[in-house]
């Protein structure tokens, strides 16, 4: 089975939904499957090309409608084998973003800093501060001391 494949250079990490690419280097090629009974999640595609594919790490197979992390291998006679693994985050981006979740941690919006899940790192140094009680912006005291004499009668 022939497939149309777009090869790209991806600069993002695997767990990022929206990948970044060096777009100017995209190339579209036509290839064939190496072996029968290909797993569409982990296909292996053989391509004959004079282009050096060693710098490519990402592929999109049009017929499968999926995007893949790609690992190229050089075979003999200008034939490259592209071993692919589906990138589910990019492939199903829209569906994932519409999915409902109970979120444990997030970096933007709906943050609750008061849930204690030990996210904050603290130093061994603590901060200790003293605040005097003030009355009319002056340190409060009992006032004027006095003798007190308790006498009988009087």
């Amino acid at each position: 089975m022939a497939v149309d494949i777009v090869l790209r250079r991806c600069t993002s990490e695997r767990n990022r939904l929206v990948k970044s690419f060096i777009d100017a280097d995209d190339i579209s090629l036509e290839g064939v499957f190496v072996e029968p009974n290909q797993d569409i999640l982990r296909p292996s595609v053989r391509i004959r090309t004079d282009v050096n594919l060693s710098g490519y790490n990402y592929a999109e197979i049009i017929q499968f409608g999926r995007k893949y992390f790609m690992h190229p291998t050089v075979e003999v006679n200008g034939i490259w084998r592209l071993d692919c693994e589906v990138d589910v985050l990019s492939t199903y981006y829209n569906g994932i973003m519409e999915s409902e979740a109970l979120v444990k941690r997030t970096g933007d919006n709906k943050i609750n800093y008061y849930v204690n899940d030990d996210v904050f790192y603290t130093e061994q140094r603590s901060v200790i501060k003293y605040y005097n009680f003030k009355r009319n912006n002056i340190d409060a005291t009992f006032g004027t001391p006095s003798y007190y004499m308790v006498v009988a009668g009087g």
């Binding site: 569906g95 109970l102 849930v115 003293y130 605040y131 409060a140 009668g153 009087g154």
Partner: protein, 692 residues
């Protein structure tokens, strides 16, 4: 110097400045020629004013040139230079509603000419203002009622002005008050703009007349629990405050509520608003709500508290334009504008609309108030059995001489075996009440004629205000709460006491709701027994008593061998407060393993004692000012932590509502087609953390 001021609305005529509406001839106000006319405070006219420097305009315009000097919607004012004259045209919808001319070179004498609009005895009129230069550098500022001189011109000017002003101002509801260093936030009851009405009478409104009526704006509970004559701060705008005092009205079943507005550090309110309400529990008063309206263009405001009664909603406000001056309305605007803006952020107890679990409804119910202590009234002070004097040093010397005089000893011996039996005790306290009465010193039945003016105590138990401390958040996160942040208070005469961090940081409101703003005011007072020195330190959070600790202050001065012996045995050291709630001081724990998260760091730190028992004799030798100690963790500076670990959320929603690094507890991956293996892969990745 022509002005193109935006017309915001008329100003009201002040009747306290010499203007006498209805007089046969309007007053002419003479001013010194060194006074800047624009800043003549007697007439703070900053809006609705059209004034033209005739000399400058005449010079700048060509003959027959027309220039628009003011526009507002379909209204405008044009200036036209004619041949030896200047004309003004007030135009609306391209129709000249009013025109005026100057001629004969008046522009050289009539320096400025203009019009404004204002109320004369409640009737809107146009006022002509002229600044007239006469011979000898004598300037005359005059205000003339156009209606008096030319009623048809007045009508024309008013027709140009139109009727789209509510009492001359564009009032709209104020949304919230915020202040007191972030400790106070109140979303106000908001009257709809179209329902605000004229502010000269009470207005009956219905529920449809309000945009919002939040519980935060209710002061019903505060008023119900407020003692008569007790002034209490109930709202803050920035560092400005508002207090309320409840006074029993002469009429049965009614109370007067005095709302007083203060600027920072002022003790005299700039505005006091008195509202008569039905006494709680005796009528149909259902609620009292805070509400304000303001005109941000004219920078004026009005206080519009809302009374809710069972038969409907009725406002209790009116702004009598004769009695309440514009200055108070302008000051009130400044007071309101002091509210801090900005998003208060996520509160620690935000209740969403989703189920919180369990079968409780989690509706806040009011809690009981604990505002003050009632000291004992039975003290024996008026029995005549004893007297407590507060002698000075010199008087004490005189008393000693008096006590050991031969006359006194002879008389005392007729009744007692020992002179010393008449002297019950002599001691020193760090506090002396003010305003003590004085009299001649007397012991038993013997009065000294020479030791006069000795102060004496008539009230045994006194309350001493020992100040307050504002408590604010540090990190705005769980680090501000126990066990990461700790509070201890030093109480003179008692010692160190630990306080509940959670209660200080987020005390529940009296109506049962929990605030979204962290922090509180901690107020300290001492109830002191002047006869024994026994004291009770009372700590209030949000004006409610939360802590009481007992101790003793002062020290004994022996006058007999017996009293000295008692003192030496620690007789006067009364039962004191606890050393502290910490049972033992622990040793520091070494670091074992794992990341330096707050929980790990906090667990390693020991508890320490900061004082022993400071009650009794030691009380006068320690620091007299109480203090609050706060200990909180220090965070290292982490940049963009949201990209690496995210922050706690524990909220649900669609993933597109979140951002940056996101990690889920559980997720429903559905609504699109994929293999089950892919679906499991997605769930697994989302649980481990992805970057949206």
């Amino acid at each position: 110097m022509a002005n193109t001021l935006d017309l915001r609305g008329p100003f009201s005529i002040r009747t306290d400045t010499g203007w006498s509406p209805g007089a046969s001839y309007p007053d002419l106000i003479s001013i010194d020629n060194s006074v800047n006319w624009w800043q003549y405070d007697a007439y703070p006219i900053t809006s609705g004013l059209f004034v033209f420097d005739l000399v400058a305009w005449y010079a700048s315009l060509a003959v027959n040139e027309r220039r628009t000097v003011y526009t507002c919607g379909t209204k405008k004012v044009d200036l036209i230079k004619g041949d030896n004259r200047m004309s003004f045209e007030f135009i609306k919808d391209n129709v000249v509603m009013f025109s005026s001319n100057t001629s004969g070179g008046q522009w050289s004498r009539l320096r400025w000419l203009g019009w404004a609009f204002g109320y004369v005895n409640g009737t809107l009129e146009a006022i002509q203002i002229s600044y007239d230069f006469t011979a000898g550098n004598y300037y005359t500022l005059s205000f003339s009622r156009v209606a008096y001189f030319n009623p048809s011109s007045n009508t024309a000017l008013l027709n140009w002005l139109g009727n789209d002003y509510r009492y001359g101002y564009n009032y709209e509801a104020v949304e919230f008050l915020a202040g007191n260093n972030g400790q106070y936030l109140c979303n106000l009851t908001k009257i709809k703009t179209t329902s605000i009405g004229q502010l000269d009478q009470s207005v009956s409104l219905q529920g449809t007349d309000f945009d919002a009526m939040p519980n935060q704006s209710s002061i019903f509970g505060i008023v119900a629990n407020l003692g008569y004559g007790y002034e209490r701060d109930i709202a803050w705008s920035g560092n400005c405050r508002m207090s309320i005092t409840k006074v029993a009205d002469q009429s049965e079943g009614l109370d007067d509520l005095l709302f007083k507005f203060y600027f920072p550090n002022e003790t005299t309110p700039f505005f006091t608003y008195t509202m008569v309400v039905v006494r709680s529990g005796q009528g149909s008063l259902g609620n009292l709500l805070l509400s304000f309206v303001w005109d941000t263009g004219n920078m004026i405001a009005a206080f519009t508290p809302i009374e809710y009664i069972a038969s409907g909603i009725q406002t209790g406000y009116w702004r009598n334009r004769i009695q309440e001056t514009n200055r108070q309305g302008q000051d009130l605007f400044v007071w309101l504008a002091a509210s801090s803006a900005g998003d208060p952020g996520e509160g620690p107890y935000t209740h969403g609309t989703t189920d919180t679990g369990g079968d409780g409804d989690n509706n806040p119910t009011p809690q009981d108030s604990r505002p003050s202590i009632t000291v004992p009234t039975l003290s024996g002070m008026t029995s005549g059995l004893f007297t407590i004097y507060c002698p000075t040093d010199a008087q004490l010397t005189q008393i000693a001489q008096f006590l050991w005089s031969s006359d006194l000893i002879d008389n005392i011996r007729k009744y007692f075996n020992n002179v010393a039996d008449n002297i019950i005790s002599l001691y020193v306290l760090p506090h002396k009440p003010s305003g003590l009465l004085t009299k001649n010193f007397q012991v038993g039945n013997m009065e000294s004629e020479t030791i006069t003016g000795v102060e004496y105590v008539s009230q045994r138990f006194v309350e001493i205000d020992m100040g307050e401390v504002y408590i604010d958040k540090n990190w705005g996160s769980y680090l501000d709460f126990s066990p990461y942040t700790k509070f201890e208070v030093y109480l003179p005469g008692i010692g160190m006491q630990s306080l509940d961090t959670d209660e200080l940081m987020c005390p529940t409101n009296l109506d049962g709701t929990v605030p979204s703003i962290l922090g509180s005011t901690l107020k300290l007072s001492y109830e002191l027994d002047l006869m024994t020195g026994v004291c009770v330190a009372v700590l209030k959070i949000k004006d409610q008593i939360c802590y009481q600790f007992s101790g003793k202050i002062g020290y004994q001065i022996p006058i007999t061998g017996q009293s000295y012996d008692s003192m030496a045995r620690g007789f006067m050291t009364a039962a004191a407060g606890l050393i502290g709630t910490v049972a033992t001081a622990g040793a520091a724990m070494p670091f074992t393993a794992g990341a330096a998260t707050a929980g790990v760091v906090n667990a390693m730190k020991p508890e320490v004692h900061r004082s022993g028992n400071m009650s009794g004799d030691p009380s006068m030798m320690c620091f007299e000012t109480p203090w609050l100690m706060v200990k909180y963790p220090n965070k290292p500076e982490l940049v963009n932590q949201q990209k690496y670990t995210g922050f706690p959320s524990y909220k649900s929603g669609k993933l597109r509502e979140f951002g940056d690094y996101t990690e889920v507890v559980e997720v429903h991956v559905e609504g699109f087609v994929c293999t089950e293996e892919e679906r499991d892969m997605i769930i697994d990745l989302l649980k481990k953390g992805v970057i949206l």
